[in-house]
């Protein structure tokens, strides 16, 4: 595996991180796979403060879920090995045992997950589940807990909370379930909310309401929100700061305006230019990085149109300041030995190595279409194609 991690974290002129509510430094998460260890997260650093939203954005396999689940030790319970340092309110979480971590998790740091269907127990009312959660963290009477549960449901925008508290999860729509789960997460008055793709399973008109809810909670409650998503539209809507992950590495991080208006890393640039609906679809060639066999150099190098020799060896590039010290890119072009202006000249470097299965080019070979026409057909059709919808 990659032993050459030389990333220097966020300390390049980035002194403010040290005082943040939550700091993550050089985080690693290693799973023991069948074919040897897999580094799902490999040296990721960022910080989160009260009243701000940091988005971890990336495609599947980028390590965004493993990162956020490592913070409170959830991945460790799944058998992963966590390295690096996580500091929360002056406390080193990475040094805590499972029991102590459980006290932090769900209390001062609460999680909201993607699938609201699976997160509620169908045989208890929504209210019973919130009351249980409140009483798990606070020594209060059942009645007091119920009052608080009603307040919480109201806060997250559930109409007629005093009635709906006695309903079962199946009586709630998907959006309402997710709101109830946010209410449950808030039941311990957390300082930090970690939300992993909380709107991905929801319809877009419902998603809009949930995103509004997160913005409101962050502003009104002064919550620090760590928001995991694959959707750049969502990032633009909720983030104050952004960490772009790819193959377990932070490719780029910075303020939301910087990331969208002045993306620095070739990966971020490529991703932003293949957002559908913004005009020319400009796909990134190749396939996502295989975590079992990552490239020797930059994780994105095999798909990068600017890759040069320096990108192919020596592990992931350190994070270099792009302009402001708060905007960092893990790309050699921002280091001392390269000229970043070359990135503006279209395809610099030696061009991408085209994997045999890249195939993003239009099929070039014209001619008879499927080649199947002209055959004689005659037997039973096989209409059923399976699959879900």
């Amino acid at each position: 595996m990659d032993a050459n991690t030389t990333s220097t974290g966020g300390r390049i002129g980035d002194g403010s991180d040290a005082d943040a509510l939550l700091t993550v430094e050089e985080l690693t998460v290693r799973f023991d796979g069948r074919d040897g260890p897999v580094d799902a997260v490999d040296g990721v650093s960022f910080a989160l403060d009260r009243g701000e939203t940091v988005c971890l954005v990336g495609e599947s396999g980028s390590g965004k879920t493993a990162t956020c689940e490592a913070i409170t030790g959830l991945v460790a319970e799944e058998g992963a090995t966590v390295g690096g340092r996580v500091t929360f309110d002056g406390r080193r979480l990475t040094d805590l045992g499972p029991g102590e971590l459980r006290e932090v998790r769900g209390d001062r740091i609460a999680h909201v997950f993607q699938d609201p269907e699976g997160a509620l127990d169908p045989v208890y009312t929504v209210g019973e589940q919130i009351v249980e959660s409140i009483r798990y963290h606070r020594d209060v009477s059942k009645n007091a807990a119920r009052e608080r549960a009603i307040d919480l449901l109201e806060k997250v925008g559930i109409p007629e909370p005093a009635t709906r508290i006695d309903e079962y999860p199946h009586e709630f729509s998907g959006g309402m379930k997710q709101r109830a789960l946010v209410a449950m997460a808030l039941s311990s008055d957390p300082d930090v909310l970690i939300a992993d793709e909380p709107t991905t399973a929801l319809d877009v008109t419902i998603e809009a309401g949930i995103l509004d809810l997160f913005s409101r909670l962050q502003a009104e409650e002064g919550l620090g929100v760590l928001f995991v998503t694959h959707d750049f539209g969502v990032v633009a809507e909720v983030a104050d700061r952004v960490v772009v992950l790819y193959g377990g590495k932070a490719m780029e991080r910075g303020g939301v305006e910087a990331i969208f208006d002045r993306p620095a890393h070739p990966y971020t640039r490529a991703l932003l230019s293949c957002l559908p609906g913004r005009g020319g679809l400009d796909p990134i060639g190749g396939e996502p990085v295989d975590p079992r066999d990552p490239p020797d150099g930059c994780r994105f190098e095999p798909r990068c149109s600017h890759a040069t020799g320096a990108c192919r060896t020596g592990g992931q590039s350190p994070e270099y300041a792009v302009e402001a010290a708060s905007h960092l890119a893990s790309c050699v072009y921002y280091g001392p030995d390269h000229d970043r202006s070359e990135l503006e000249r279209g395809d610099g470097g030696d061009g991408p190595r085209t994997p045999d299965d890249a195939g993003t080019k239009a099929p070039s070979d014209a001619g008879d279409a499927a080649g199947a026409s002209g055959f004689e057909f005659g037997r039973d059709p096989s209409p059923s194609d399976g699959g879900d919808r």
Binding site: G175, A236, G359, D388
Partner: protein, 416 residues
Amino acid sequence: MRDTEPLLRADDLEKHFTVGEGLLGRGGEPLRAVDGVSFDVRRGETVGLIGESGCGKSTVAETLLRLREPTGGTVTFDGDRVDEYGDDELRAFRRRTGMLFQDPVGSFDPRLTVGESAAEFLRVHGVSDAATRRAVVVDLFERVGLSADHYDRYPHELSGGQSQRAALARALVLNPDLLVADEPVSALDLSIQAAVLSLLDDLQAELELSVLLITHDVSVVREICDRVNVMYLGEIVESGPTETVLEDPEHPYTAALIDSVPTPDPSAERETQPLAGEVPDATNPPSGCRFHTRCPVVIPPEGFDGDPGAWRAAFDCKLTVADPDFDDETLADRVAEPTPAGVREAFDLPESVGEDDLDATLTAAVEALADGDAEAAREHLAAFESVCERVPPANERVDDQRTGDEHVAACHRAGE
């Protein structure tokens, strides 16, 4: 375009399911999954069918292809009635239509290589020579950006993007005229989505395919569809050329759907509030315009001259109170303080809607609610009525004069 007749046309297509029989005891009420849907797909054209979960878009596809039998309406394919096909004609129809699904891995038999899966289509349709089958499939694999090597791989050995390419090759193996793609890129990562969409776009042009694309994603429609149909609760509420519909939506639901999509631009602000409420139950759809329970621009009665926002608040209160589940108990829960002021606060009701008659009626309703009498309040609030609630809107032509393309919206406000 070889022919002016559309390749595929649905007229008043309807698919009702019987639900609720048995334990829940709600038998008899049909679920109106697709409730009178008409649209067409011309030759060589990509048409989008967009809507949120539960709107019936996938059921439309299944019913069109006779994977489910329609309960009403007709489907015409290349001049023939699909709903009247016998077995042989249906078999021929299946050869001419390919399908692509959301989950590419799950749509392959795990025990066959992806190449064998695709070749199986050729075999059951009468290509008996294995070498020919392989050659046809390999040729298609290369067209969709895979290599001949992929023929011998199993589904689990391919990445998501590669499996969707293989599924596309399989859908095209019988050289169909029509491809029905149901959420073909929803399960894929962004960078892979873009690649599969542009591949689909290129193949469509090259093979002169007609494509019916079913999706929940406005940006996918924007990218590759020539025309789009917007569905809400079993009905098409708006249809027209993609650019016109997306840039200048006529139906408030279309506008809300477009505006709900988070824009990848941190300085952009949403133009409107997120839609209130939830999609209603399709077994008992709202009267009149089905969107009126969530619509931000419900039409006040003719001659109303007061404050539309205030009127809307009263209308919302009426909808809440009119819900069959709303009784004295829910009322007591909703209203913390049983006084007229407390009721106005609980329902966000204004002091005045700007018209004396209606103000008096509203005051009477508020007093009834303060007394805990939901039934009396319901009667008073009936005065806040709207054409949107009473009359199902007809399809209005709202064509852009410059292009002259057919743009239709089912909204009482259409064409205003």
